[in-house]
């Protein structure tokens, strides 16, 4: 099963974009894993940022600490793991939680550097303490944060925060834009190719050999299409040569046969001559059927050509009725009204002649062969013959196939010719048992009105 080039390209580009994003995540993870100390510091800094956000200037102009419940949740849930302390420039405590986690002196470095951090040993546990000077609403404050272990996975939070900032925010919009641009570019660039493919698709079995359009194709594809057009041209020439050959062969075969046929007539009548005459009739039939088969092979139905199926059937039944009567069989037509179909009147008439000939040959004497035309575009020939066993139904359209070796009347080409003509019309031979005995062979044509 083939896939659309456009779809494949877009899918691959999307996949590549996705993989690159994933790679970026892996890279960021690896970067932070390689610097655990930095990450720990980042954790402290992050908490200090959150605490600073909770500092607001009151109506009296003084700073007040109004933490959200969410902010305090970490400290109330893990009192022996996290602590903080906020002092103003005079050393007054603006806010505090779990201040006893670390020794009091660990909080107090009022004149220390703007930001610092250190590890303090408390009861055999290592506690990370960090402090930073911050300026909030014109007031200088110092915010300190301490953590013993990390039961609330603050480190992970920091990591995701980093990931969010460095991957999601900075990279994802860019990646999405890139993917959209990719998809549009692929579609635009391959549009000419899609048009060429559409043109090729329209050139179905019944549309003959037409060159593919080369306008606007990129060089790489142009070379391919030109090569195909060249092959099509040669194929067309070969087909034309075959048609010409068939016509020449028809002439070359029929003329000596006509001479032979006429010469036989000059001989005195005898049973031997009658036998030879019958042989010539069989030979003539074979030559005609061979030529018909060759012509049916090269039959190309013009897609705009239309004909009246009922008129074609009327012509064929009319012309073949004398033959049917001579052979002691009946021939009838049902459903005469214009039934316009897309197709070649001569080709359809030829197919119908073969079907009727076949039906007459297999019908018992006295029985009637019925040709039926019904909307929409169905042509059927019904006989009262012995029927075709199911296992033989797929075989009867094979060339030179015969029901039995003793079936000398036929050339084994009739139904093969009909099948080929049906194919040229985008149709197929449908063979069914007639419910009350015999066979129904039908051909479905496209109604002229559709498209």
């Amino acid at each position: 099963m083939s896939r659309s080039l456009v779809t494949t390209l877009i899918r691959r580009l999307l996949l590549a974009g996705g993989l690159l994003t994933l790679l970026n995540i892996v890279f960021v993870t690896a970067y932070y894993s390689s610097d655990p100390e930095g990450l720990r510091r980042e954790k402290v800094s992050h908490q200090i940022d959150r605490l600073a956000e909770a500092l607001k200037a009151g109506p009296d102009g003084r700073l007040a600490f109004r933490p959200s419940e969410r902010l305090m949740d970490t400290f109330t849930r893990y009192p022996d793991a996290y602590a903080f302390r906020i002092e103003d420039h005079a050393g007054a405590v603006l806010g505090e939680a779990n201040g006893s986690l670390v020794p009091a002196e660990s909080w107090r470095v009022p004149n220390g550097p703007d930001a610092w951090w250190s590890d303090v040993q408390v009861n055999g546990r290592s506690v990370l303490v960090g402090s930073r000077r911050a300026n909030v609403a014109g007031e200088t404050v110092r915010i300190a944060f301490a953590a013993a272990g990390d039961p609330s996975n603050l480190l992970l939070f920091v990591y995701f925060d980093e990931l969010f900032v460095h991957v999601i925010v900075s990279l994802l919009p860019f990646a999405i834009c890139l993917m959209i641009v990719n998809a549009v570019t692929v579609r635009q660039s391959l549009r000419s190719l899609v048009h060429a493919a559409d043109a090729a698709r329209k050139a179905g079995p019944s549309h003959g050999i037409a060159a593919l359009p080369t306008r606007g194709l990129p060089t790489e594809v142009l070379i391919l299409v030109e090569a195909i057009n060249d092959a099509l041209r040669r194929l067309g020439e070969a087909l034309e040569a075959e048609r010409a050959f068939t016509a020449e062969a028809a002439h070359a075969l029929r003329t000596p046969l006509a001479v032979l046929s006429a010469r036989i007539e000059t001989l005195p009548k005898s049973s031997e001559i009658d036998a030879v005459r019958a042989d010539i009739v069989a030979l003539r039939r074979l030559v005609n059927q061979l030529l018909s088969a060759a012509q049916a092979d090269t039959l190309v139905v013009d897609p705009v050509r239309q004909c009246d199926l009922a008129a074609v059937a009327e012509g064929v039944v009319s012309a073949m009725a004398p033959l049917a009567i001579r052979e002691g069989r009946g021939l009838a037509l049902e459903g005469v009204a214009p039934v316009m179909v897309r197709g070649d009147a001569d080709g359809i008439a030829h197919a119908l002649r073969n079907l009727v000939e076949n039906a007459l040959r297999f019908s018992p004497p006295g029985e009637e062969v019925l040709v039926r035309v019904t909307e929409p575009g169905l042509l059927a020939v019904l006989d009262r013959g012995p029927g075709i066993p199911d296992e033989q139904k797929p075989l009867v359209t094979k060339r030179f196939w015969r029901a039995s070796a003793s079936d000398l009347g036929g050339t084994g080409l009739g139904l093969a010719i009909v099948q080929r003509i049906a194919e040229a019309h985008g149709s197929a031979l449908d063979i069914r048992d007639r419910h009350d005995g015999g066979t129904v062979i039908s051909l479905q044509f496209l109604p002229a009105s559709s498209g």
Binding site: T246, A247, A250, H251, L253, R254, T255, L257, A258, V259, L260, S261, A262, R263, E265, T266, I280, R284, N288, L291, S292, Q295, A296, L299, E314, V317, S318, A319, A321, P322, I325, R326, E327, G328, G330, L331, A332, L333, E334, G335, V336, D344, A345, D346, G347, H350, E368, V371
Partner: protein
């Protein structure tokens, strides 16, 4: 009857000529377009048998020229180049009938007689089938030599069928020929006429048979399917 045979293959021309002469035709032969034109200008035939593939031109062009000149001589085209489409081509360009080679000379003769039997044709005066004879001038019918009295409608039907001997005649062609514009025939009027005609022909001992081709029309043959 004078017949012009235009055929370029010498043995076929010779054999066909002999056979047609045996059938009672006076045969002139032309092997190419040029000599055919010469014969047509000095001794116009009653019917032409035309082979399409000629050494110095296409038989259809000759036919086309003939029709453009207003000549209504019936032409039977005989060709070896029959394809799925050639047939229509030939008939469209003025051929009256068409046969694919190899055609038995007896059949060529039969078709030529059928062409001459058409209205305006030279054999149009007397129509014969089996022991049935129809004189188109006096509109009298005889079966086995005895006169047969038929109503006008039945005579009209019989004439149309006999003029198209060997061919199916569509019922609307028969209706057009036997009813005037004022006479709107009932749906079964033609069936009734044919049925009466059949009975009267059988009663008179005529060895002809009128076959019904359901969905098309009628066909008359000699009894016994010959």
């Amino acid at each position: 009857m004078k017949l012009l045979l235009i055929e370029d293959v010498p043995p076929l021309a010779e054999l066909t000529r002999e056979a047609l002469e045996t059938e009672g035709f006076t045969v002139d032969h032309a092997a190419n377009v040029e000599s055919a034109r010469a014969i047509l200008s000095v001794a116009p035939p009653d019917v032409i048998v035309l082979d399409l593939g000629l050494p110095d031109g296409d038989g259809l062009d000759l036919l086309h020229g003939l029709r453009n000149a207003g000549k209504a001589i019936p032409v039977l085209v005989v060709t070896a180049r029959a394809g799925l489409n050639d047939r229509i081509d030939g008939l469209d360009r003025g051929a009256d009938d068409y046969m694919v080679k190899p055609a038995a000379p007896a059949e060529i003769a039969a078709r030529c007689r059928a062409l001459l039997r058409r209205p305006g044709g030279l054999l149009g005066r007397k129509l014969q089938l089996g022991n049935l004879a129809f004189d188109t001038a006096s509109r009298s019918v005889t079966a086995a030599g005895r006169p047969l009295v038929l109503a006008r409608r039945e005579i009209d039907v019989l004439e149309v069928l006999l003029r198209k001997l060997g061919q199916s005649v569509p019922r609307r062609v028969i209706e057009d020929a036997i009813y005037t514009l004022d006479e709107a025939p009932g749906p079964n009027a033609l069936e009734a006429s044919v049925s009466r005609l059949r009975r009267q022909l059988a009663d008179a001992g005529a060895n002809v048979e009128i076959h019904t081709i359901r969905g098309i029309g009628y066909l008359i043959t000699e009894a016994g399917g010959a």
